[in-house]
């Protein structure tokens, strides 16, 4: 496997423009001859499919939900970053770029991140033109708020439903292209494998989730925009359907998988309450702008929060990080919450929770102002917990939230398989080892609206269209494999449900490959996962048949892939002998318990290559930092 990032030459600020100028294009008359498959209709997929359709390509688009507008992007709450500098607070492209590189703890590619910062402004312009109703100030100008980990206000938002509004914008553009016949939409259809012929991606094999029919779709290029894989932890803030199948299958077919162990644990979710809980609900991190995080200073202090006097409260973020206080980056906030709970200071039924308190903000600004800012989040919290955050502090706890790891891509967003692209959360992304708040929406949309539609032309223009059709024998072979896997799942007929395996895997991964990890734990997980997988294939019970709407079967296929992928995550975590970004490798910390990076050995991207019947092989893409000085993060002073 050869890793060539194809970063264009020239000064950082000029790279993208120069690249666009030098790229080969496909003329408008030829575009309809090229067929592109886009898997996924989240922000990345919907933006890409609609943009490609509008350019005139023939697009086939897939999602497993019943409508493209229900993709998981819809759940994003807080906002989207752009370096508009509307607030005149010193923001700039360069500052968004450096914030992202530093936030990612120096594990992202400079050229990609710079381009992202440059394109951030166009995203806001595009969304507003589509009718996205961002919050406005009294004079009618766009409003901004600040988001964890940065010193400027550059986040654009629609109340607590920014993702929904951006997705409605992107899927409305998609709807137009569907109507005009440029995009053929296949909802309730799941990609189960990618087809490679002569070393190039030529299509996908899918299952119609209503009829159960398995079929092949050929194209000149395939784009995976299938989102993140945090459901490997079972309990996460992701939608129930989120999975790793498409990218994992692409990996098995030869695409490099980068940094699989990099996942983000979000600091502000509602803590788990019971063993049958199915997901964790995120409380937007914007709440940390006005909420103060604390726990009782005394272990096992069961008094109601209002009865705990000021002096007996430990505002652990404010004390430890006076400059950023409650607005430290996500990983710092999450790790500190876990640490105080591990010390027995946690609150709530399970002892795994900390308070997020609005008392002082309400006293200072009045309940009206606070409600205007967070009203719908308060309602959501109250609906779930039956408690009113205006009267008693919220309880929060970290939850798996975002996958920085993903398929390795070059500057053109192409994976190591020619003709196979990965965009949005599905690629290994510009967020390095840790993503800043409000930057995922930005990246998914930059990839989908502005980067992929241009870079894919370069690839397409170099190959004749329609070379391989779905009747090629390779499609038949892959289809047969997919059918065989489905049959196997249905024929085990054991005793345990899919859900029970998923839960067990999740708990194991959270314990061993979560916020804090160590060698012994990872080695244990690497022993345990194959056992669990063996048990799954021996004892799982998947009811129903193949040729029908069969939800347990869908779930079983996803869990089967997660059970294999989990091993790759642990292997990657074991190999990365440093603490970096979101994760503390317990062996690598400073005396004060802060993370210790190792730039000598690990200033690189770990890219894994699948090996039939053998351990995956590790490759590395070295990362050079020319524009930002390689330095330890410091949120203390």
């Amino acid at each position: 496997m050869k890793l060539d990032a194809k970063v264009p030459p020239g000064p950082l600020p000029d790279k993208w423009d120069a690249h666009v100028d030098s790229i080969r294009l496909v003329g408008p008359r030829n575009r309809p001859r090229y067929r592109v498959i886009v898997v996924g209709t989240g922000l990345a997929g919907a933006a890409a499919a609609s943009s490609l359709g509008a350019l005139g390509y023939e697009v086939e688009c897939f999602c497993f939900q019943d409508s493209p507008r229900r993709a998981h992007s819809i759940a994003a709450q807080g906002g989207i970053n752009a370096s508009k500098n509307y607030r005149n607070d010193g923001d700039s492209v360069f500052r968004l770029f450096t914030d992202t590189i530093k936030g990612g703890d120096f594990r992202a590619r400079e050229a990609n991140v710079y381009r992202l910062a440059q394109l951030s402004m166009s995203i806001i312009d595009q969304a507003v033109a589509q009718g996205v109703p961002f919050a406005r100030e009294y004079g009618g100008m766009l409003a901004n708020r600040s988001f964890g980990g940065v010193l400027v206000e550059r986040t654009f938002y629609c109340r607590g439903e920014t993702g929904q509004q951006l997705l409605l914008g992107a899927t409305s553009a998609l709807a137009k292209e569907i109507h005009d016949g440029h995009v053929r939409m296949h909802p309730r259809t799941e990609i189960l494998d990618v087809v490679i012929v002569d070393g190039r991606a030529r299509g996908v094999v899918v299952r119609d989730l209503v009829s159960g029919e398995v079929s092949s779709h050929a194209a000149d290029a395939v784009v995976l925009a299938t989102g993140g894989y945090c459901n490997v932890f079972f309990l996460s803030t992701m939608a129930k359907g989120c999975n790793v199948t498409a990218t994992y299958r692409a990996w098995r077919r030869g695409a490099g998988f980068a940094n699989p162990c990099f996942t983000q644990i979000h600091p502000t979710a509602i803590p788990a309450g019971s063993e049958h809980q199915s997901k964790l609900t995120l409380m937007s991190e914007s709440l940390r702008n006005d909420g103060r995080v604390w726990v009782p200073r005394k272990q096992g202090d069961k008094r109601p929060p209002a009865e705990i006097p000021e002096a007996e409260r430990l505002y652990f973020l404010e004390e430890r990080y006076p400059r950023f206080g409650n607005l430290v980056p996500r990983d710092v906030a999450a790790r500190n919450a876990k640490e105080v709970c591990d010390k027995g200071l946690g609150v709530g039924a399970t002892g795994y929770g900390v308070y997020l308190d609005f008392r002082d903000a309400i006293q200072r600004l009045g309940v009206k102002t606070i409600e205007a800012r967070y009203g719908n989040l308060f309602e959501m919290y109250e609906r779930i917990t039956d408690e009113d955050p205006r009267k008693a502090p919220m309880r929060i706890y970290p939850a798996p939230h975002y996958a920085m790891g993903g398929l390795w891509v070059d500057y053109n967003l192409m994976t190591t398989i020619p003709g196979l692209y990965a965009i949005g959360e599905a690629n290994f992304s510009d967020h390095g080892a840790n993503r800043l708040g409000a930057s995922a929406l930005m990246q998914a949309l930059a990839d989908g609206y502005f980067i992929l539609p241009v870079t894919i032309a370069d690839y397409l223009s170099r190959h004749p269209s329609g070379e391989v059709k779905a009747d090629h024998p390779e499609f038949g072979r892959v289809e047969a494999e997919v059918r065989e896997r489905t049959k196997r799942l249905l024929s085990v007929n054991g005793k345990r449900t899919v859900l029970s395996f998923h839960r067990e895997l999740g708990q194991l991964m959270l314990d061993k490959c979560g916020i804090a990890r160590n060698r012994a734990g990872l080695e244990e997980a690497l022993r345990r996962i194959p056992q669990l997988r063996e048990e799954f294939w021996r004892d799982v019970k998947v009811p129903g048949g193949e040729g029908e709407l069969n939800q347990p079967l869908e779930h079983a296929g996803r869990v089967a892939d997660l059970l294999e992928f989990a091993e790759l995550m642990c292997l990657d975590a074991l190999t990365r002998e440093e603490s970096c970004g979101c994760h503390l490798r317990e062996e690598h910390q400073t005396e004060e318990g802060e993370t210790k990076r190792d730039d000598e050995r690990f200033a690189n991207v770990s890219v894994w290559e699948y090996q039939e019947g053998a351990k995956p092989r590790l490759h590395q893409e070295p990362l050079a930092f020319e524009a930002v000085h390689l330095a330890q993060r410091n949120y203390k002073t």
């Binding site: 409508s67 019971s274 809980q277 199915s278």
Partner: protein
């Protein structure tokens, strides 16, 4: 807590379907309705019975995938709440709970509690957008929008397209959904150029899909988990009648890549 669940079971789109009762015990009030159904499915699977098919995805009230009529009410008894955020503490211990799919001619049942809502997507495809290509656009601050207008547009745009409005309407009308989508864009400056052609196309598509007519019963508003107001229906009707009276001539040629 303990419940008897009377659930609509139907093998596929063709099948007749019937209510089947399933008992469930040991349920904590802090489980969501869907988590309770997960647990029921675990038990059914364990006993070699077929689990109940139902749609859900985000489980935080915004994707609009979940869709159950619970005791005769779309999304159950609580106002402004989707099924995925409904908790069992809102039911009486020992209660019999009836669970059905959305019932509407335009939403055929696919299996058990899963319905086909593609008709909504076709309404959006008919005109629910502002025609803009991806590429450079003017700075948004060059076109100020009064915050009250932006907020009202968002009140409409917050519709999650779940279909509860249709399921609640005795006529099976899709007016609230269509009106929310129309009003979101017609309120904003960006939506003005296509304002009148859009409303006509969307309303015509809605009528083609076999949704019923609106007789101002207001059930849709009461059932809407996002609190979309029926005032948007009035808004849409005004735009529609103006459009029909004015009969604007669509002078655009085809806007293909060519």
């Amino acid at each position: 807590m303990k419940f008897t669940l009377r659930i609509w079971r139907q093998d596929n789109a063709k099948g007749p379907g019937a209510f089947v009762s399933h008992g469930i015990d040991g349920i904590s009030g802090d489980l969501s309705f869907l988590e309770m159904l997960d647990l029921l499915n675990e038990q059914l699977t364990g006993r070699g019975e077929t689990p109940v098919a139902f749609d859900s995805d985000c489980r935080e009230g915004v994707c609009g995938m979940c869709s159950l009529v619970i005791n005769g009410r779309p999304h159950g008894p609580n106002a402004l709440t989707t099924t995925c955020q409904l908790y069992m503490r809102h039911f009486r211990d020992g209660e019999e709970i009836t669970v059905e799919p959305w019932r509407a001619r335009a939403f055929p049942v696919l299996k058990d509690l899963v319905v086909d809502r593609a008709a909504f997507d076709r309404i959006l495809e008919a005109g629910g957008y502002v025609t803009v290509h991806s590429g450079p656009k003017p700075d948004p601050n060059s076109m100020p929008v009064e915050p009250a207008i932006a907020e009202e547009a968002l009140d409409a745009a917050t519709c999650i397209g779940c279909g509860a409005c249709v399921a609640a309407c005795p006529n099976g009308a899709a007016m609230l959904f269509t009106a929310a989508k129309v009003s979101h864009l017609s309120l904003l400056p960006q939506g003005q150029p296509e304002r009148y052609t859009r409303v006509v196309k969307m309303v015509e598509q809605m009528e083609k899909e076999g949704f019923g007519g609106c007789t101002n019963l207001g059930e849709c508003e009461a059932a809407c988990p996002k609190g979309i107001s029926i005032k948007f229906i009035g808004r849409m009707n005004r735009d529609y009648f103006r459009a029909v009276l004015k009969e604007p001539i669509d002078r655009r040629g085809p806007m293909n890549a060519q």
